[in-house]
């Protein structure tokens, strides 16, 4: 039996149109976008309510030597998101970040998985998939709109 199936679909859907929400990070080339993250995931031991902010750091990297197509570096940081177990009141964390390199595109579906776990119980970690359906300003790398969907795997 293979165990690569997605399960527990339909955890939460959040739409956030982020015009005007992007802000320049300390590096001139990196643009940070804060994405509100509110979702409820059904874990194996209890249901967990997550709230906070996911941060997308995006950067267009040009190949000014060979002239190849630009690449987008995307850092998805979930450290601003915490969860609370609805039964126990325990605190849950989401680990990361995820660092991705993708071809520069005006639209991209960024699907990344993250572990979430209670306290320091790393071996009890479970997996959430976060899908950021992004529109980008291809000149700056800024996220102009994003739709976030989460899924417990």
């Amino acid at each position: 039996m293979t165990s690569n199936r997605f399960c527990n679909r339909c955890a939460a859907v959040l739409l956030a149109v982020l015009a005007g929400m992007a802000s320049l990070a300390s590096s001139a080339d990196v643009v940070s976008t804060m994405v509100p993250f509110v979702t409820i995931l059904k874990g194996s031991t209890e249901t967990v309510s997550f709230t906070g902010t996911a941060r997308l750091d995006t950067q267009v990297i040009l190949d000014n030597v060979l002239g190849n197509a630009p690449v987008m570096e995307i850092v998805v940081d979930m450290s601003g998101v915490t969860g609370v177990g609805t039964s126990t009141g325990s605190t849950y964390s989401i680990s990361g970040p995820a660092i991705l390199h993708r071809p520069l595109s005006a639209n991209d579906l960024i699907r990344v998985t993250f572990p979430f776990y209670r306290g320091s119980d790393l071996f009890g970690a479970e997996t959430v998939e976060a899908t950021f359906n992004c529109k980008f300003d291809t000149a700056t790398g800024a996220v102009t709109a994003v739709k976030l969907t989460t899924l417990k795997m």
Binding site: S3, V71, L109, Y117, T127
Partner: protein, 730 residues
């Protein structure tokens, strides 16, 4: 643009691509045998000055096909009907640890200059039996203080059948493999056996070799070169001279596998690996701290000098032959080295307040491999006859189309329902990996580049893993019922050797739609049973904190920019090389320089600490930069400490720049001296010619400033003055 021809490509197109590859192999062969130089190829218009293969039909794999099929590409390596996950993955083959007295002749502090007859094909006359440069500068440092206690020997030779496989675990923990059965050298039982000219491995055999050592027990590794004396007998690629780098041993430079300290067929080289904790001269010099220790063989600890926070665990060793590292490592010159310590002793049951009790086993005092598994990942390619093939399309990198683990094509591995540690080495030439489990389950990363992290990090997708990086992870298979099959999956899609083209989502990677054949599932874990004994292993919240450097002043800042368009300012026919890649040091006026192992680019003062910033000089590629000798700590990425991800907050020896990025690290230069290297570990970049020499040369006699450059010949090693010393080096 897809790199490899689609499976549905027409026979005519495949034939055409095969013809083009054959033409390119003629170029590789001529280069590998020294019959032509890169300058010649550029002069003849075969390559551009930028290192790109000329846009010629019948040569460049991306020139439009005569059959008008677009896109074009490379011919796929034939599988001869072999299916994935149909053969077991063998554990590493552990090299025997013998008494020092087993070595004949006995090792000596200075290179053994006893003479032997040199074959005519190597110039005739006589030459030394040991290829190590002679004299006091290349004598083993600390040979009297840390005399070798264990002898390990291996040959480098052409492919042959293994009749003495020693996995050190029972067959039940090795997917049922019977170690008494001969193992022909082939990537799968259904694939052709490799010829002795196609593959050159340690002892000429597979599985890959593993050395097991422990702190306080110095090893004398005697490496015999038994490759063909005639350099044209190389199967089309590979160079018969070798230099063995123990990556990243804290040893004297004479044992580091310096790129210019290579040795010839018929010679041996004695590498003295003292296996000491860095800082042993000044930190815990009286060996009073139990955390700075080694397994004593009977459940206790032998205390050793040095900083316990410099304890290392997962190393590998490989060829470092100047300009030929990529071909030789690809051809099989790669092995691993597990180092055991009081902290990481390879016994999960001993509860002494020091041992971290990581997944391993319990039968032996140290070094149990039952649940501690080495994985060597490497992409390969082979020709129509199934023989290992190395292609050349440009000097950006080489990408294979067949994934191997421990040199087996897409194998399976049986596991019990418990925790396992996997020591994952990226042994590719140019390929980066990004790993996940096929069901998205979490993994716990405990080490990076052989160094246990300050704290474990739980991840569902590992970071990109550059060439030569080692990631140690723990997977808990107790979450799966018996008979589950779960896979390791590669998410990093390549289009060429420059960098990852696209990090895929797990769903994308599993979809089978990637044009990169090495994306997707490549290792199948089969959960076969419950463990016979309870799993008592642990992954503590605290592993090994970083050494505290706050009291160590910073002596210098240096900057190294890695880029293209290098120039060469020297012309030594042996030590200087020409290639599109290079390194600019401290924004020097000479610009980006191509490699010359006779040039000194940096010479830190012995006993100091420096801060080095490594900069990617262009956005079109990535470079995994390896700095030899002592582990560094990452201070910042792109200028910010907050950009350093948790899995890079320990010690490291390979630093991925990322496209367009920079990384700032701090390093100490202590305990040993001599000439070391810094280079890109995309070994095609390294060979063409992104490598520099730095040295610690101010420690007094026998060292000189600068150090003379060794120039090996079969008749003996001579020395020349350094070609060049950069103005900011000293």
């Amino acid at each position: 643009m897809p790199f490899f021809l689609d499976r549905k490509a027409s026979p005519n197109r495949v034939r055409e691509a095969e013809d083009a590859r054959r033409n390119r192999q003629e170029i590789v062969k001529a280069l590998s045998q020294g019959r032509v130089s890169r300058r010649d190829l550029i002069k003849w218009g075969v390559f551009t000055a930028g290192g790109m293969l000329a846009w010629k039909h019948g040569l460049n794999p991306f020139v439009g096909s005569a059959y008008a099929e677009i896109p074009t590409g490379l011919p796929a390596s034939p599988l001869f009907g072999v299916l994935p996950f149909t053969t077991p993955m063998p554990r590493f083959d552990v090299l025997a640890r013998n008494p020092l007295a087993s070595l004949t002749p006995a090792p000596t502090a200075q290179a053994n200059q006893a003479q032997r007859d040199v074959p005519a094909v190597l110039g005739g006359g006589t030459g030394p039996i040991e290829g190590r440069p002679p004299g006091p500068i290349w004598a083993h440092q600390g040979f009297d203080v840390f005399p070798p206690k264990v002898a390990v020997q291996a040959t480098q030779e052409g492919a042959t059948t293994n009749g003495v496989y020693n996995p050190t675990v029972p067959s039940s923990l090795n997917s049922g493999i019977d170690p008494t059965q001969p193992i022909p050298l082939r990537f799968h039982p259904g694939l052709p056996t490799q010829s002795p000219l196609a593959v050159w491995t340690f002892n000429g055999t597979i599985p890959p070799k593993l050395v097991m050592g422990r702190y306080g027990e110095p090893i004398l590794f005697r490496h015999h070169n038994r490759l063909p004396e005639d350099e044209s007998q190389n199967g089309g690629f590979g160079r018969h001279t070798i230099s063995t780098h123990e990556h990243n041993g804290h040893h004297g430079a004479e044992n580091d596998g310096f790129t210019g300290a290579y040795f010839y067929p018929g010679q041996f080289y004695d590498y003295h690996w003292p296996i000491v904790l860095a800082g042993f001269r000044t930190i815990n010099p009286d060996a009073t701290d139990r955390r700075a220790g080694s397994p004593d063989g009977s459940g206790g600890i032998v205390k050793v000098a040095g900083d316990w926070r410099e304890t290392m665990s997962t190393h590998w060793f490989h060829d470092h032959m100047f300009s030929f590292t990529s071909q030789n490592v690809y051809k099989g010159n790669a092995a691993m080295f597990n180092i055991y310590s009081a902290l990481d002793r390879g016994n999960e049951a001993i509860d002494d307040g020091v041992n971290l009790r990581l997944p391993s086993g319990t039968a032996n005092d140290w070094g149990n491999l039952d649940y501690d598994v080495n994985l060597m990942l490497a992409d390969k390619a082979w020709d129509a006859n199934g023989q290992l093939a190395f292609d050349i399309f440009d000097f950006d990198g080489f990408i294979g189309d067949r994934m191997t683990v421990n040199l087996i094509y897409k194998p399976y591995f049986e596991v019990e329902r418990r925790k396992y540690r996997f020591r994952i080495l990226n042994a590719s030439v140019s390929r980066f990996f990004k790993l996940a489990l096929s069901d998205g389950s979490p993994m716990i990363q405990i080490a990076n580049d052989g160094n246990l992290l300050p704290s474990p990090v739980v991840l569902t997708e590992l970071d990109e893993q550059g060439i030569a990086e080692r990631y140690d992870i723990v997977i808990d298979f107790s979450r799966y019922p018996v008979n589950t099959r779960v896979h390791l999956v590669n998410l990093a899609e390549h289009e060429d050797g420059k960098r990852v083209a696209k990090d895929l989502s797990l769903a994308e990677a599993l979809s089978g739609t990637s044009s990169d054949p090495c994306v997707g599932r490549f290792l199948e874990f089969r959960v076969v049973r419950d463990p016979a004994k309870p799993d008592v292993s642990r992954v503590p919240d605290v592993l090994i904190p970083n050494p505290d450097l706050s009291a160590v002043p910073v002596a210098r800042h240096r900057t190294f920019e890695f880029g293209r368009g290098a120039t060469q300012t020297t012309n030594d026919p042996v030590s200087a090389f020409f290639g599109p890649w290079g390194i600019r040091t401290d924004s020097g006026p000479a610009g980006t320089l191509a490699a010359d192992f006779g040039r000194v680019s940096a010479a830190p003062r012995a006993g100091t600490r420096e801060i080095w910033t490594l900069v990617n000089g262009g956005g079109g590629w990535d470079h995994p930069i390896h700095i030899h000798f002592e582990e560094g700590q990452v201070l910042a990425r792109d200028g910010l400490a907050s950009n350093v991800p948790p899995w890079e907050r320990g010690r490291k020896d390979v630093y991925r720049l990322r496209p367009g990025g920079s990384i700032t690290i701090t390093l100490q230069f202590r305990d040993w001296g001599g000439m070391f290297m810094e280079h890109c570990h995309n070994t095609v970049h390294e060979d063409n010619a992104m490598l520099l020499r730095w040295e610690i040369d101010d420690g007094g006699a026998p060292f000189l400033r600068p150090l003379p450059t060794p120039i090996p010949t079969p008749q003996g090693v001579t020395f020349r003055d350094a070609d060049d010393v950069l103005p900011t080096a000293l």
